[in-house]
Structures are given as C-alpha cells and as structure tokens.
Symmetry: C2
Subunit: 440 residues, 2 copies
Amino acid sequence: MASRQFEPPSGTRDFLAGALRTRERVFARIREVFERYGFEPLQTPAFERLETLTGKYGDEGDKLIFKILRRGEHEATGEADLALRYDMTVPLARVVAGYGSQLPTPYKRYAMGPVWRADRPGKGRFREFAQCDVDVVGSGSPLADAEVVCALTDALDAVGVRNYRVLVNSRQALSGLLEAYGIPADLGGGVLITLDKLDKLSPEKVSAELVEARSLESDIATALVGDLTAADAVERMQTVLKDSEVGRAGLDEIGQLLELASPRVGAERIAFVPSLVRGLDYYTGVIFEVVAEGMPGSIASGGRYDGLISALGGPDVPACGGSLGVERIIGLLSSDDGAEHRIDVAATVIAEDTASEVMGFAARLRDVGLRTEVYLAASRKLAKQLKWAADRKARFALIYGAADKDAGVITVRDMDTGEQAQVPTDELAAYLTGRCAPSE
Amino acid sequence: MASRQFEPPSGTRDFLAGALRTRERVFARIREVFERYGFEPLQTPAFERLETLTGKYGDEGDKLIFKILRRGEHEATGEADLALRYDMTVPLARVVAGYGSQLPTPYKRYAMGPVWRADRPGKGRFREFAQCDVDVVGSGSPLADAEVVCALTDALDAVGVRNYRVLVNSRQALSGLLEAYGIPADLGGGVLITLDKLDKLSPEKVSAELVEARSLESDIATALVGDLTAADAVERMQTVLKDSEVGRAGLDEIGQLLELASPRVGAERIAFVPSLVRGLDYYTGVIFEVVAEGMPGSIASGGRYDGLISALGGPDVPACGGSLGVERIIGLLSSDDGAEHRIDVAATVIAEDTASEVMGFAARLRDVGLRTEVYLAASRKLAKQLKWAADRKARFALIYGAADKDAGVITVRDMDTGEQAQVPTDELAAYLTGRCAPSE
C-alpha cells in the first residue's frame, strides 16, 4: 500500500478479484447446501433502527454497535437513530414478528452477508465480516435440531473442510448438572462460565477458579471437575443426570440429536461433551460446536433458543439454529482452492481499421460463453499485446493482421504451447469452443 | 405488517425468498456478462473513512452521506469518522490509488452491491439500493468506451430488457456547441443544465428558461433550441460542430463509438443525440444513456471521465465506465420471471421411530441434488403433512408408514397428479432424479 489514506478503514478489507472469487465460491457452495435442505434466503437491510438493536447484546455488545447519525437538521445534535446490523438473529426476529403468516411454518431461513462490530481490529478479527446462519423458527422438534447440524456439516463438507468434530451438550443437561452437585441457583451462571474454560485451562486451574471466583465449596469443585474430565465423563454424567428431571430431559434431547444426526454426520464425528457450555445464555435446549483439527475455537456453532424470538420482540415460538464461522473457514482453505481463474481469449488489435471487426469476433466468442478480452491500449505492437495476453493468463490469443484479413482467416495462438493456427473467421467460435474449458 | 416497529427502517427493504431470488437471478446474469468481457469483480467495505467521501459529491451529495459515530470514548462528542458508501466510484478511485501496480492495466472492474443515501424515501427511491458498475481505468481508447456500452447492453439483453435505445453524445461536442453559438464560458454550465430538460419540457419552455434563468440572448436561445429539436438536428450539429476544434474532436469520438458499438448493439438502437447532457459534470468525453420504452429516465448511463480518478485522490489516468440502473431494471421485469421456485421432495414423518430413517432418505436425495425438506412439526397426521407438502409446492411427497417399512418400500406421491407409487427404498434416489427437473 502506498499510503494509509488509500487503505480501507481499520478492520475492513478490499477484496480484489482473486480473493473475492474464493469467497464467492465458498458462499455459493454453502448456499447450494442450504437450498437443498429447503432453507429459504432472507436479506434484511444493512442497518436497523437503533432501538431494534440496543439492549439485545448485553452491555459489552451494545458498545460494539456502529451507530449512524440522524440526518438532516438533527445532525448537529450528534444523535443516532440507525445502527449497522450486529448479527443476523435480531433482524430474523424482527422479520418473524413483522411478516407472521406470510412466512412458511416452520420458517427455515438462511442468511449470508456482512455484519459490523466496532471491535478492536486484530489478527483474524474484523469490523466488517460475513456471517452465515441457518435457523428454524416454529418447530420444537429434535428433527429441527438435527437438520440444522446436518445442514452445517454438509456445508463444511461442501467447502472442503476435513477432520472436524461436532460437540453436543444441552442447557437442560447443564442445569441438571448444577442440581446434581447441589450448586445454588445463584452461583450456576458463574460456574458454567468457568467450566467453559475446560478446553483451554487445566482441571486444577478450573477447580481453583470455581472456588475463588465462583464461591464453590472446594470438595464440590473437585468432584465436578473430576467427573467432567474423567475418561468416562460421558458415562458418569449419564448416571448423575438421571437423578434430576431436567437432567433426564437434557440426556433425552442429546440422545435424540445424536440418533438423528449421526447417520449423516458420522457417529465418530459427533459426540456428547458434558463440559461444553457455549457463552451465550439464550440457549434453552441442545447446544453444539464444531471444532476442526489445528484450529483454535470453533468453526460452527448453534443450538436451540426457544425464548429468544419473543425476547427480541417477536412471537413466542420455539426456534433453533446455527452459524458457520465462514471467515475462519475461508482462512482454513488454501488460497489456490479451485481452478486458477483465467480468461479464454485475448483479442489483439494490430492492423489499422480492424478494431470494429475484432470487437465482432470477441462478441461472437462471448456469445458462446468464452471469456474474451479485447486489447484496449493505444499500442499497435504485437509483442506488447502478446505480453498483455500472457499477463491476463489467456488460453488463446487472436491476431488479425492485414494478411489474415485478406485471406479471410484469423491467427489463433495457443498461449500455453505457442503454436499458431490460421482459422477461417466464420469457424472461429467453433474452433475455440472445443478447445476451451467451460467458463465458471 | 403488524406494526411499524417491525418494519425495516424507512427507505430500506426486507427481501423474502421470492423477491430475493428474482434479484439474485438478475445479478447473476449481469455478472456472467461482465465476466465474459473480462471485467474483474471488486468488493470494497460498506463504509469508508469520512474524509474519503466528503467533498466528492457536491454540497447536495454531502448532505446525503450516512455518517457513522466514532466509537469508544469519543462517542459522546457526536463526532463521525466513518460513512456508508455513497457510490462505487470513489471506492474504485481509492483502490486504484492504493493498489497501483498490483492491478492489471487497464483495470477493468465491475462492482455490484448496495450503496446508501439519506434521500427522502419515495416511490422507487430507496436509502439502500444496489448499484452495478463497470469501469475501465487506464485506457483512453474508444474501444474502451465501446466495450463499456456493449457490456451494459449485453447485460440488458441477458436480463430480458427489450426495446431500449442508447443515446450518445460527447462533452467535447457540447463544448463545441457552446462555442459555435457564441455562448460565454461562464454561462455554459447553466445552459447545459437547461438544455438537459429538452426530453421533458417543450422547446418553448426551454428557450424561455435559457433567456430568463441563464441570461442567454433571445435569438441565440431560439436558434440553439430550434437546431437541437429539428428533425435534422444531427445533420445540423454535424455542420455546426465542424467549425470548432473541440466540436470536431467531439464528433470524432461519437463517430468512433457508434462505429465500434453499432454492430453489437444494432445500428437502429444507438444514435447520436446532440441534446443529451447528463447531469454529472465530471464527464470529459463521450456520454451515453440507455432509455427503455415506457420507462421515465434512463436504465443505464455512463461515459468517459478522464480527470475523475485523480480528482478523487487516485493517479492521473484516463477512465470510462457506466452503471446499470439495476433497481429500475428489476422493477421492469415481471415478478414471475423465471420458473416458480419449488422444492422437489417433501418427506413426511408419520410412523413411530422412523424419523431417523426418513432423514436418511432425505440425505440421499440431497446428495443427488434434489431440494428436499423433512416435516419438522410434532403432528403425525398424514393429512396435515400432505397439506404442508402442498404449501411448500413440493413436486413429490414421501410417505413411509409402518406397512411400507415392513415391505422395504417407500410411497412416493406425485403432488401434481395425486398418483402414488411404491418404490423400493434403495431405488428411491434413481426414481426421483429422473422425475424432477434439475434444481436451480
């Protein structure tokens, strides 16, 4: 970059052709999977009324909302009335509330697009980034949970992510866990926040934090962490949770999700992980995270959130959904994923008064779907134009000199081999169609 | 809508599946044409630094820029440091300035996406709307002008717009016109603004405005308007403009554009229109507008703007480009354009303990590309589920009852005819693949 003045704003990116095509390919593959599941696309505006967003993301979230100044005479007050979309879920709730019976029941929708957060920009953390969500609003069935998990893992398969695992738990199972260990309700939330660190911290550190920061009795903390990190943690939990009603409900919903999703996801890739918590506290049923080898954090996540749509202003309907960490996924993929993008034909313009004819050749090639460029600079030197054709990674170059014109042919140069052929002008399209791979 | 609270913000729209698919289809077809011409996609952030945008659109434009409040401790000051993209041209200039030699020469790029303007919302006028631009930066050749015009008209053809005409003029020809009629340089701009109304007002009214508002002498105004609105206006202008150097240069660039673009566009659909002005004053060479029968205003427009990239902070390079009025074009198209979107298969779940198997059938059908939905609500009543299948416009419904299961078959109901067939479960995918049209 020449100068900061010409960089995109902090935390945002310009996508030039190569990077943008990789992104678009990833989005297209994901979209195809979601469509195959019968999810419908939804696109809401980039901004919402400020009051639609505030108070929905907690104090920390509220600080990250980009606010837009009221326009017109009110501008001088510095007052904001609009705000950039912070996620796809609040707009979904607004749409469910606003369109009601115009939507199918259940409403299965996907949304792909940018969201904006005034986060401190950092490595892999942006102020403008894409989200990619599927949600089912209006079904409390475990089938809906399973469809969400399968749609997300199918999408991971479609974009070429390998070696991932789906970790499953349930908010009801976590409530049962707190009950079973006799943890008072008012300590529960804090305990879960600390337990969520078991994937990063040692069991000893987590136990210590439970005692020091969460006021848990030491023997309870040790027993809890010991059970959750034991080799047979799943079996222990299955025994422990059976003693409480909410625990049994949790085990039941986890069991149903595993039964319904395992055939598709692969039984070895999906498992009950009793220590999985998920930060967001709006989940009410199953929760899940997808982790991939060599990646910190998760590449997809979601769960059931039966109370959220009404809390956000919508009707009281059951709902579940999940989100692909699409920026991370794009980061995972090698940048040469997919074929190198090249043009099919570069048409040179060398002889006087042939520009119109060369444009005509180009038009015919475009009509048969070939990506064709015409040389647009002033030089009439062939060497310079062939260098341009090579720079543009053209598969073939067209040369239409005075002698060609007189003979009713056009010279077609294979840019990979350097071989040249003289092709009658009216056979040009047929000649090249067979020799070029179909354009993307 | 139930309540204003659930509407999108004033001047913006929610796009539900049907409308969004129509839009996406239009964008996809346009993109395909631009790619065939070798234009490269560019995507810049939704917002720019405020100073990048201010002062670029004139006083009126500046007022329409949505400004974003500075975040963090500065928020209370009401100060803005970012602003939503107002068009695609200023970001292009920033990219050309910032990336320089990393870009191909010439840099042919297209950009499609939303821009935001704090305009008073009205019929067909939005605060969030899509723009669709092609530009060639770094070529002063008439071939570049012609490629822009042809790419735009090809795109109009591709999306099904009929009966359009391309009106062509040149800023140099307009300068020659002012010179030929002896109009002082300081009056020129105002005169052109008034002449631009010849497509809406009568010649008499335009003459009157030239005299009253533009201080033109009455006989000059009458002669000028008379010549421009005469049946042989083109011939008169060709004579008049030959007397001035800039006029000759204008005629020359118009002639070259017509010669290069006519074979593709069709000579009857493109013409020199001496009274065409175009509002924006940054054009330096040819200018054009595309008008369609029955549509007020233009559906595409553009021209050559050799000084603009440097005025916007970029290098001093020649450039030309054009823009499709894509919102108008989408409005022109009948909403049933394209096939009705339907799902291929609706899988019912009626018998106990068959949900997992039904999900397995759905997975196999999705694997062969069929859009398949599984019934997600709690009811096990077949009639209710078949109504759902009909509501979803499914081509086929699957019924897997206890008797089917015992017999190793699945009942496939043709939702158009009501006919049912019993298909061995392992032949299901093959059976349906042949009977469903390929998914989009």
